[in-house]
């Protein structure tokens, strides 16, 4: 496993040379990511990786993509999506314009999941979905709307468990090893890069989803990101986190109430 001193050298390089600050990322996971990068790109030593990072700016997007975890799926944790469908969307429906922020959305599987639910609730036409991630490369996929066909069986199961009643295959077309999702699902989606470490709030939302992103941050950075969400959420808006993440010990906790069914959905009360 890579040594702490080496990791610090790499992080300092990424921060000073390129403005990507990973210093407050959780260490245990980050070390595994660097190890994986060393293996995937077949570097003989850490020194070679560091040299490449210093001297090849074109290599940077790949480094950022590899250091961050881009594992996501459609309707992951179906009971959470059922809660959104049954308890959150009916509240959002009362707004003339619904603004949603998917923060750290990676390749966009959850953006499409929510778009499908909004469509089924007849709300998509009056919704604006902001989909952001630190990686310029992965968010390209949101525009394409293509996901590996091998995952579709799981997604279909998730969709049905989340309370979906339609034929899931009506939302995509199979193209060889890809499922290409209907373009109308992303008609109201705005895709942009956004770094939760360094970028600011850019709008006010009624719903913010940031699932399994905070687990990669240390406590300090988690609090910073949660404060950013708090500043970006309307009163009575909803914040949705990953299934093992919690608002409990954060500075914004006092203003929020978790839904009664204990899904990881909090409502901003003041």
């Amino acid at each position: 496993m890579i040594q702490d001193e080496d990791l610090n050298l790499l992080l300092s390089e990424l921060s000073h040379r390129y403005g990507y600050d990973f210093t407050n990322y959780a260490r245990a996971s980050l070390k595994r990511r660097v190890n994986r990068l060393l293996a995937v790109d077949r570097f003989a030593s850490f020194a070679e990786l560091l040299y490449k990072v210093k001297n090849d700016p074109d290599y940077l997007p790949h480094v950022v993509e590899q250091l961050t975890v881009n594992v996501t799926e459609m309707f992951r944790d179906p009971s959470l999506f059922r809660t959104l469908r049954e308890q959150v969307l009916p509240v959002l429906a009362t707004h003339p314009l619904i603004r949603v922020w998917h923060a750290g959305c990676s390749t966009g599987e959850e953006v499409y999941s929510l778009a499908i639910m909004l469509e089924e609730a007849n709300l998509l036409h009056k919704s604006l979905l902001y989909a952001t991630d630190i990686n310029p490369t992965v968010i390209e996929n949101i525009r394409r709307g293509m996901f590996p066909i091998g995952n579709i069986r799981q997604y279909t199961e998730n969709y049905l468990q989340s309370g979906g009643r339609k034929d899931f295959s009506s939302y995509y077309q199979a193209q060889y090893e890809w499922a290409k999702f209907d373009e109308r699902l992303r008609a109201n989606t705005i895709v942009a890069t956004h770094n939760l470490v360094s970028d600011r709030s850019f709008n006010e939302f009624q719903l913010i989803l940031c699932r399994n992103v905070l687990i990669y941050f240390d406590k300090e950075l988690q609090d910073k990101a949660l404060t950013l969400f708090d500043n970006s959420l309307e009163k009575l808006g909803f914040l949705v986190l990953g299934s093992k993440e919690n608002l409990r010990f954060s500075p914004i906790a006092a203003s929020y109430t978790q839904l009664e069914n204990k899904e990881k959905v909090w409502r901003k009360m003041r």
Partner: protein, 195 residues
Amino acid sequence: MAENALNQLRYLVIGGSAGSLEVILDLVTHLPALPHAVVILVVHRKKDNDSILVDLLSYRTKLPVREVEDKETISPDTIYLAPPDYHLLIERADLFSLDISEKVHFSRPSIDVTFESVAEAFGDRVIGILLSGANADGAVGMAKIRKAGGYTIVQDPATADVGYMPQQALDLTPVDSILPAAEIPGLLEKLLRIQ
């Protein structure tokens, strides 16, 4: 907790897959009331029946049983369970962290990932146990625990429900003990008594 108190703790990590549940429940039943150890379980299981395992374990022990949440504090004399669909890592001596990165040996949580992290963080204070399973996960982890000075126990493949996983570990690394499941609690009691 004071640093010297942390330094005296033992870290008992147990990995199991197919055919390991009964063994784990029995092990937990026979743990000392205050083992002066942190117990960490990594079990391959389906995502949907997660709370059942916590309940099953809680019936059999007075020790608190917790499915780990993000950045949860590591406390002694507690049984921690890796949550389904997350890798479980040691962030600091007193802090867990979680990760949903790629599956390892088709598994998340992966036994290798946790064993490796525990070995790196706690070295010779680790006792690693690898049980029944139909998967190669855990072998590399056992090798890392041993290399870091920890004590390694493998369930005898001949007596395991599914011998493949323990056999994979034995093919990869020497270990300290190879035992039928029924004899593991007795050894643990001795190991945990030596502080």
